[in-house]
């Protein structure tokens, strides 16, 4: 009897849900959780008939999830995912080509070369170090200004880095090191860095949050997270290492075969508007529409100049091999040797 009631309630809820006029879009994203509410609100304010349902996780997880669902995709749109992950999927024919209205106003280097494009870039997120100044003072640590500094003995056990297999931020670091220094030197660098790593984390923002809480003095993370923690009052300094910093492009694409193509196109159109780009700029310094970006508070000075010349083609093509090599070298070892 009670079961019947429960079942009835469930059924009614289902009916009520289906009767809603708004189109529910399942959007897979790796955008930070604290920005998603803002975007949902802005999108739905301009398109009241859309109901955005975020499925958020770290870049590697979302990419793996999309790959696993290839035969029967669950997402309607992928939005704010690293282009290195998106390209991999695009090459497998995952996406529906579409030129959003106004895409020509974007800087062409951030848009897929195909016409109509399969994916469109939104904004760049950039690697940075977060240094806890209070803990650095206590431990008499020098302020690291380069990637090489982090391999010095005084940083042993004092650095946390995201695992590139799950975190897009982790991958863009590894990718940048290889692109800057070549395979051999980059892996040698990572071997040295591994000796100093206290922990590899699941997400790219956790290292900076751990640095903000003083759990470790140095977190390899990205500029937005560092700036946020600093604005909240954490004693962190956000540093862009001098050799150059890796970056990746948050981009969107429409999943081929979605039953909600019209709604997906509305979201795509919205995502290239000036208003959208202004919102992107609230957290990120480099956005796809030229002339929009204003300086973001607490970002490291001159970070835009330090962004490496990034070859997405190379990064997407070698992603899997690089990640496998990384896992072989560093994932299996239990605690790094003391």
């Amino acid at each position: 009897m009670k079961f019947a009631t429960v079942f009835g309630v469930l059924l009614l809820a289902g009916v009520a849900f289906a009767a809603q006029a708004r189109t529910e879009l399942i959007v897979y994203t790796a955008v930070e959780a604290d920005e998603l509410a803002k975007f949902k609100q802005a999108i739905e304010a301009d398109h009241p008939d859309l109901d955005i349902k975020w499925v958020r996780d770290s870049t590697g997880i979302i990419t793996a999830k999309l790959l696993a669902e290839k035969a029967n995709p669950q997402a309607d749109v992928v939005w704010g995912l690293a282009v290195t992950g998106l390209k991999l999927l695009a090459d497998q024919g995952y996406f529906q080509s579409y030129a959003p209205k106004g895409v020509e106003t974007l800087d062409p280097q951030y848009v897929d070369k195909a016409n109509p494009p399969q994916w469109v870039g939104q904004r760049a997120w950039v690697a940075s170090l977060c240094l806890n100044t209070v803990e650095a003072e206590k431990l008499k640590l020098p302020t690291p200004t380069s990637w090489q500094d982090l391999t010095k003995p005084e940083f042993k056990g004092k650095v946390v880095m995201p695992n590139p297999n799950s975190s897009g931020t982790g991958f863009l670091d590894v990718s940048a090191w290889i692109q800057m220094w070549g395979e051999e030197k980059a892996w040698k660098y990572m071997d040295g860095l591994h000796e100093n790593i206290a922990q590899y984390t699941h997400s790219g923002s956790k290292p900076c949050k751990m640095a903000a809480a003083g759990e470790v003095p140095v977190g390899i993370s990205f500029a937005y997270r560092g700036a946020q923690e600093k604005s909240k009052g954490a004693p962190v300094e956000v540093i862009a290492p001098k050799e150059g910093v890796g970056w990746d492009l948050e981009s969107f694409a429409i999943v081929k075969g979605t039953k909600k193509l019209e709604a997906a196109k509305q979201l795509a159109d919205w995502s290239v508007t000036r208003k959208a780009n202004e919102l992107y700029n609230e957290g990120y310094a480099v956005v796809a529409m030229p002339g929009v970006a204003k300086p973001v508070p607490n970002y490291p000075a001159g970070i835009a100049e330090k962004m490496i010349k990034n070859d997405f083609e190379w990064a997407a093509k070698h992603r899997e091999a690089v990640l496998a090599e990384w896992a072989k070298r560093y994932d299996g070892k239990s605690e790094p040797k003391k």
Binding site: F3, D34, A198, A213, G214, K232, D331, G332, S334, E335
Partner: protein, 562 residues
């Protein structure tokens, strides 16, 4: 001449009950047996579903990064179990065999970890012993991230499980044995080893294996404080969620299933022995005051209780501290989950709903099921088979069950595919996961009832369902309530099975704790975990009050003849 065998004629009752039993057996097969069997086959397939023999296993064992987790899991679980059993034995001994004051209070404190997800202890440990921990110095420079953290965290949350079992074993003892030992001039130590320990030995064995299984299959604690230390349970998660490598997930699941199944059989064996150890002529043992012993035990119990309260208190405080460790002013901002992962307050609402649905439909299925298993007089093989099915969940780790559900319910050809990604599948998984203990509770309650009720009603030609509804159910209400609360609290706190099964609109509070911690939002994670504790505690209190009221209303028969 051989007398003709009289077959009892099957009446309507028998047909109905037999049919009910069949439905139950099918239900358990679908929500348990078939998914598990399917998972086993996945371990010998490649990503495309082609049969590859033992290739996945070969790959597993030749990759030290993966197979190293077996040794890690075994020794960490063994160590945590040894510590938990030792502590729980001392605690149970003090509660049952000494004259310390405040026993009720200490019993209550020891049960508190049951109200929290295992993640909570790990989060509290980071605040206590992390690099900014309040008591960091106590670790002598060792890191909490790794085996040390996993062992401490596991001891905390498995302690009440061990205590319940050992306490039951120590609660009853034959005073004549102690008198005999004393009059034979045995030393107190010898009496302790020969009488006390050996009397409780099956309880100890049972607790040993229960705790070992809990630790080795738990994934909350190693996920949070494991650092780079790989364990089997976290590896399943990494393979499935991190790399979407379901086949390798199935391989690791199988490895995790082995110790759990072994522990299950030993535990069942010990349980049976325990029950028969006390004869009807035994004289209950009553402890006599002994100032030195009581004072020592009071100190020990007080210390353990202090640690439990300390760990919970730490998590509670961390959830209110503005910016640990630099700004300890109090704030409620961490309880605003909208800026963090995990689905915000909606997850909390979903968890409450899941717990309610599970409590209501779970206790219904379990109690009716146990009734049919106990009282049906036909189809003996079906009864045995159903009973065995009901015992399986005890040996199946939650993560394994969750993974098996993905394979089964997400298979494109499955007519039950529509359940995938709904609240209903979470309810099904949670009922299946916690079926065994509920089933045994219901059976125990039913066995206490005089079978004469059924004979009388049969003689009076009353249909069995009327007896069931008018007599059996009211008499068993306290047990049904116990089952409901057991389901409710476990649905609130569990992570392992549901972590693979939740969808965007069915995110859960316990999973939110995990995801927030993963993203580095430790304080909101602590806040959500404490929210679960408060809720479970509130429901528990309500349950206690309701039970007492019910006991007065419907259980007067228990008092007669005393």
């Amino acid at each position: 001449m051989v007398a003709p065998r009289v077959r009892p004629r099957l009446g309507r009752d028998e047909w109905l009950m037999g049919g009910g039993l069949l439905v139950l057996a099918l239900y358990l097969a679908i929500t348990l047996l078939v998914p598990l069997a399917l998972m086993l086959t996945k371990s010998v397939q490649d990503r495309e579903g082609a049969f590859v023999g033992l290739a996945n296993f070969a790959q597993y064992f030749t990759n030290p990064a993966l197979s190293g987790a077996i040794g890690n899991s075994l020794w960490v679980s063994a160590l945590a179990t040894a510590i938990t059993i030792a502590l729980a034995f001392g605690y149970a001994y003090a509660l049952n065999r000494s004259c310390i004051p405040f026993k009720g209070f200490f019993r209550l404190v020891a049960m508190l970890p049951l109200l929290a997800p295992s993640l909570l202890s790990a989060i509290a440990l980071v605040y206590l012993f992390g690099n900014q921990g309040a008591l960091k110095g106590w670790l002598f420079g060792e890191s909490i991230y790794g085996p040390i953290g996993i062992v401490i965290g596991s001891v905390f949350w498995t302690f009440p499980h061990a205590l319940i079992i050992i306490s039951t074993a120590l609660a009853t003892a034959d005073a004549r044995l102690y008198e005999a030992s004393e009059s034979l001039g045995a030393s107190r130590w010898r009496t302790f080893t020969v009488v006390t320990l050996s009397g409780a030995r099956y309880g100890l064995i049972s607790a040993l294996f229960v705790v070992f299984t809990l630790v080795i299959t738990d994934f909350g604690v190693p996920k949070v404080v494991g650092g780079q230390f790989n364990m089997l349970a976290t590896d399943i998660y990494k393979q499935v969620v991190g790399q979407q490598n379901f086949q390798m997930g199935a391989v690791v699941s199988l490895l995790l299933l082995l110790p759990a199944v072994l522990a299950f059989f030993v535990e069942r064996w010990a349980q049976r022995r325990q029950i028969s150890s006390l004869s009807s002529r035994a004289v209950p043992y009553r402890p006599k005051p002994s100032p030195v012993r009581d004072l020592a035990l009071l100190g020990f119990v007080g210390l353990v209780a202090l640690v439990i309260l300390g760990i919970l208190g730490m998590a509670a405080f961390a959830s209110f501290a503005k910016l640990w460790p630099y700004n300890l002013s109090l704030t409620l901002s961490h309880y605003d989950f909208s800026n963090a992962d995990g689905g915000s307050w909606a997850s909390y609402g979903n968890s409450i709903r899941l717990a309610l649905y599970t409590a209501v439909s779970g206790s219904l299925v379990v109690f009716v099921g146990a009734y049919l298993v106990e009282k049906t007089r036909v189809a003996k093989p079906l009864r045995t088979a159903t009973h065995l099915l009901a015992l399986i969940p005890m040996a199946v780790p939650g993560m394994v069950l969750g993974l098996a559900y993905i394979f089964f319910f997400n298979a494109p050809g499955n007519p039950l595919n529509f359940l995938y990604g709904t609240m209903a599948i979470l309810v099904l998984a949670t009922i299946a996961h916690f079926y065994t203990v509920s089933h045994l509770t219901a059976l125990t309650a039913l066995k206490q009832l005089d079978p004469e009720f059924e004979s009388v009603s049969a003689a009076l030609k009353t249909p069995f369902y009327r007896t069931f509804w008018r007599v059996t159910t009211p008499m068993c209400l306290p047990a049904i309530l116990d089952i409901a609360i057991y389901f409710f609290i476990n649905a609130m706190t569990t992570v392992s099975a549901v972590v693979f099964l939740y969808a965007p609109h069915t995110t859960l509070a316990s999973v939110a704790v995990l995801n927030m911690d993963d993203a580095g939002d430790t304080a909101p994670a602590a806040a959500m975990a404490m929210l679960i504790v408060y809720t479970s505690a509130g429901v528990r209190l309500l349950h206690a009050w309701l039970s007492r009221w019910l006991l007065r209303r419907t259980q007067a028969w228990r008092l007669q003849g005393r």
